[in-house]
Amino acid sequence: MKGWKIAGMMAALIWAQTATAQDDSTPSAGGYSPYKQYVTGSATLYYGVGLPFGSQKDFIDKSPTSNVGIAVEAMFPGHFSVGGRFMYEHVKQRLPRQVYSIGDGSDVSAVQTRTLTVAPLLAIGSAYLTDVTATVRPYVQLGVGGAFVSYAKYYGLLVDQKQGIRAAVAPAVGVKFRFGAQSNIGADIQAQYQHVFFKYDQLDNSQNLMINVGVSYRWW
């Protein structure tokens, strides 16, 4: 019974301490900052370009430029954050009329239109070199999750298409900035290797080096 009382008192003490800390949470440049005390939030809107390689470059050697996305992260006091990230990436390439020999022995003369859409939804974790209150925060990040992939190769109007959801991994390095010590608005520049385990026809896994820039907002 006594143990319960002590536990109750300890809980009350922690409760009170938390309350005290919360109420004193005005951000300041030099001293106290809520970002150092609590788990805070950050949201970033991204735009990116991709540099395909491997079999994806064989399929479409054009850089994906229609890449947008959003990340929402819980920023821990100190040097870590976790969150989720959604990207939408689409690329299309048209090849002039050629004759293609396909598997059954047919020769197919067509203008080919190739499209690839990749939409990864990743859980992301980041480790930062600098403190949560720093205005410049270099980081390394690992993203793991799944991606919706739509692969299409059009011969004229005829299409050979495959869609599916596959596993995806995306390690990244980057730098987050804030526009001033008191500002909640910032930017993010990152280089990300994105690997999606999707195999069909010419595509033996989707591989891209993504260069992403983002505008971020943080709150507490």
Binding site: S25, D104, D107, V108, A110, T113, V159, Y217
Partner: protein
């Protein structure tokens, strides 16, 4: 919000509010944070809208909507690898095309049909084959077939009925039907397209009543029924079939 924080700070500094009240105030603070959260939600909504809009831009229309008629056209050819086309000299080509549809087969002689037949004859003549009068014996039987509308589920011998008397002379009548080796693929989609084919009349198989289809072409896409584009289409089809060449 600033006043609110100042008030809490003051009360706490003077230790004049019980913890429960502090907790109550914290709930209020949480509500304030939620206002910021609403801003985040708006950002999220904007982001998702952008993403969805982008996606709809990409997915709303087909990626091939912008193809011209000529660019949309697809020419698919295949042939029997065991055949030496130099061993054939003559061909028979009727003066009508076969219309294949769900409602049955018939023949047609529109201006378009005549243009296709004339172009087909010209291409074969250019390759050294000699056209014979309808009803005369020939090495090759050539057919121009227009597949209409929802004719889907094409199987291994889709055009049997026209063989009944298409080349118009005795010996290749009702009992013969085409034989397609397994490497001929028929794309089973609802579409209107041309099918050109060549059967081996010279080496017809009397035992099993088969006429081997030794070459075929499928022509698909927009504008393939325009008379003006007939020559370009046939030129493409034959340029990808260089093996069609009679001995000179």
């Amino acid at each position: 919000m600033k006043k609110f924080k100042t008030l809490i700070s003051y009360l706490k500094k003077n230790q004049c509010i019980p913890k429960l009240l502090t907790r109550h105030l914290l709930i209020k603070q949480l509500l304030i944070n939620m206002k910021l959260g609403n801003l985040f939600k708006r950002l999220l909504a904007v982001g998702l809208s952008l993403g969805m809009g982008w996606g709809m831009m990409a997915c709303g229309g087909s990626p091939v909507d912008d193809l011209s008629d000529a660019e949309s056209q697809v020419f698919i050819t295949n042939y029997d690898r065991s055949v030496n086309f130099a061993n054939y000299r003559t061909f028979s080509l009727p003066d009508s095309v076969v219309i294949v549809s769900n409602s049955g087969d018939q023949t047609s002689q529109t201006l378009l049909d005549q243009a296709v037949l004339a172009g087909l004859a010209q291409q074969l003549t250019n390759r050294g084959y000699q056209r014979v009068e309808q009803g005369s014996s020939a090495d090759l039987g050539v057919a121009a077939i227009r597949v209409n509308n929802s004719y889907v589920g094409v199987t291994s011998s889709p055009y049997s009925s026209y063989y009944s008397n298409y080349w118009g002379y005795g010996g290749y009548g009702y009992s013969y039907y085409p034989y397609y080796p397994s490497y001929y693929n028929f794309y089973q989609v609802s579409d209107n397209y041309w099918n050109l084919q060549m059967v081996d009349l010279k080496n017809r198989n009397a035992n099993n009543q088969q006429l081997n289809v030794i070459w075929q072409a499928e022509i698909r896409g927009n504008g393939i029924f325009d008379t003006a584009s007939t020559n370009d289409i046939l030129t493409n089809v034959f340029s990808q079939s260089p093996y069609l060449q009679a001995n000179k």
